[in-house]
Symmetry: C3
Subunit: 266 residues, 3 copies
């Protein structure tokens, strides 16, 4: 592929307008996720507790921005002032939960629809991570860790509000804490945040900014599609295992075991 | 009744001073609610954990303002800077929990006292809903949903902090989530918020503002008294059922059942 | 001791630089507390969930500032912008959890190290309480209760985030609420906050400010050391019992019992 054309394409991607199509895709997948999370009783629940159902879906849709605002001392409700986005979210929620003969849900679960929506959601995610890092960098120009945290939270907000979202629906699952077993989305958002921070704040990455952004988008979309189509769920696992063995005690623990002392109490 | 005099009265109500009598009534009912919530072990608990008891009562008394502040990015503790209100709250709490021979509790439970206090609390509630809507409208002039949420939260703050309030007392009841089974107060505050927003932001309501406000006050007081005296707990139920049948799947579900397909899995 | 020299020493203490030695002592004790809280499975947990382990340790280290910020409507993440402090915290965490042959943990548990670190942490605590009171006094010059709350929260932040800290590690213990059975640290911070408020806002305390501060430091250190060395855990208990008997129903309850009526239902 011609590098000139490639850079052009990257510049296109970076300027992509999100509203309304990407918002629809994002809201659709969020509503589907809430419905899946409710399990077999989802329809009965949506009839008995519509308010709780609507609120938890809105929380998931706006989770990234709300969590980031909460952590940065900005109004948690502020994301809701975007009325068009709120209407799109509500219509999608209605479509997934209450459409006659459950058409909405079936359409959403239809593989081609799901693939397109997922790809769009990943493009949106990359933008959110980037926006989060940029926003945090404006507030705290030297606090790399805050940029990374905000980028990660905006990228996978749904993971971090899972406990609260379920609590709104009256279910409490303290062991489902995202930090315990971070999902692939959290890890990918974390890596993307780190790359954006390096790109913004250091000279380590010499590629043009549009290319870095485009690379992250491709990385997100590629792994999402391979997760849906091929069932590869977490390409980070081998790196993590290596890191844990080297730095988080793995090797020393084995050594201690071999030497028959300093054995960790378990 | 003479319309002129009626409008005069409405104008009086809108300018009613809340401190101290309405604050006393509100605090009294809040402290009684905390004590009722503690059940049979209330007195023993208040002796063993006075700090936790005081804190949870204060949380209930200031709940509306604290929740609204938290959601709007304002200091959660700010309502406590109103020292006279805090002293009234503390004295009422002391009166209900620790007065000799339990006089405070018995006085608070005495029906005429309860009726007067409840009516005053409802007048206060109307003011809080109105203040909440006005405050949110100043911050986000076009975000109707934020105005409605803040109005509702200020109107029935105690409902939304129930989980936290109990947690301060060491009890955790995740299924008592207000959004699951909204109480009448939440629904009434919601309706009042919507009416205030319509009155403020549109031309749909042509009545003078004082009359609208007065109407809400009468509506709140009337239903509170009928709830205490006649046992009517939720006049919204028939409307909700109609709405659910029409829009939230009721009719379609029945149709699907009749046609023997598209049956919701339950 | 010469009063002049004593005042000189007090003035030295008030100007003591906290970074880095006091931060190291504080972080070390926080990491040890997290490890103790994890119990026998601590090492296995730190290998399986390093992210959750790191996050909960950072939450404990920065708890006071984060809780105070959250309550005052300031950014919760802001304390993390202090990069050197974050690095010290991370290194200490690594040292306690992952050092080869568990040296870090063993060093931290070694009595002389623990005594010195504890004494330093108490000096730090006094400074935090003072800073909290001062900060709140700037925001709300007349709200004594807010100053006291913020002082207490900054003094014993770890106690107030215990529930959240454990939740990050996937454990939920609603009955471990600090307000139910406040620890000595909470009570001491509360008393220190009240003294600082009196010193700042009234003329009741005529001693020079440096002496008041120094007195609090000595009080904190003295009781911490007597707790470690002599096992005296809570010198406040007799005063509390007296206060409860006089004001929180104790005497009246006994009287009611004697008179055989008004008996509290338990």
């Amino acid at each position: 592929m011609d590098p000139e054309a490639f850079l052009d394409m990257a510049n296109q991607v970076i300027k992509l307008k999100m509203f309304p199509y990407f918002d629809i895709a994002h809201s659709l997948l969020c509503a589907l996720a809430v419905r899946e999370d409710l399990g077999a009783g989802a329809q009965a629940f949506s009839r008995k507790h519509p308010l709780s159902c609507w609120l938890s879906t809105m929380l998931v849709i706006f989770s990234g921005a709300m969590v980031a605002n909460g952590l940065l001392g900005e109004p948690i409700l502020a994301p809701l002032k975007n009325t068009p986005q709120l209407i799109v979210g509500t219509l999608t929620w209605y479509f997934v939960f209450y459409s006659p003969f459950d058409i909405g849900y079936k359409v959403g679960k239809f593989l081609p629809v799901k693939i397109v929506a997922s790809a769009m959601k990943e493009i949106y995610r990359a933008k959110k991570v980037y926006d989060g890092v940029t926003h945090a960098a404006k507030l705290y120009p030297n606090a790399y860790i805050i940029m990374i945290i905000i980028g990660t939270m905006k990228g996978n907000g749904a993971g971090f509000v899972k406990l609260l979202e379920r609590l709104i629906r009256g279910a409490w699952t303290p062991t489902a804490m995202e930090f315990m077993q971070p999902t692939f989305y959290t890890k990918a958002s974390l890596v993307a945040s780190i790359i954006f921070v390096l790109d913004k704040k250091t000279d380590l990455i010499s590629a043009p900014h549009a290319l870095v952004y485009f690379g992250i988008v491709i990385f997100f979309v590629y792994f999402k599609l391979s997760s849906i189509l091929l069932g590869i769920h977490d390409p980070f696992v081998p790196f993590e295992n290596l890191f844990c063995a080297l730095f988080l005690g793995g090797i020393w623990d084995s050594l201690a075991k071999l030497m028959g002392r300093g054995q960790p109490k378990e």
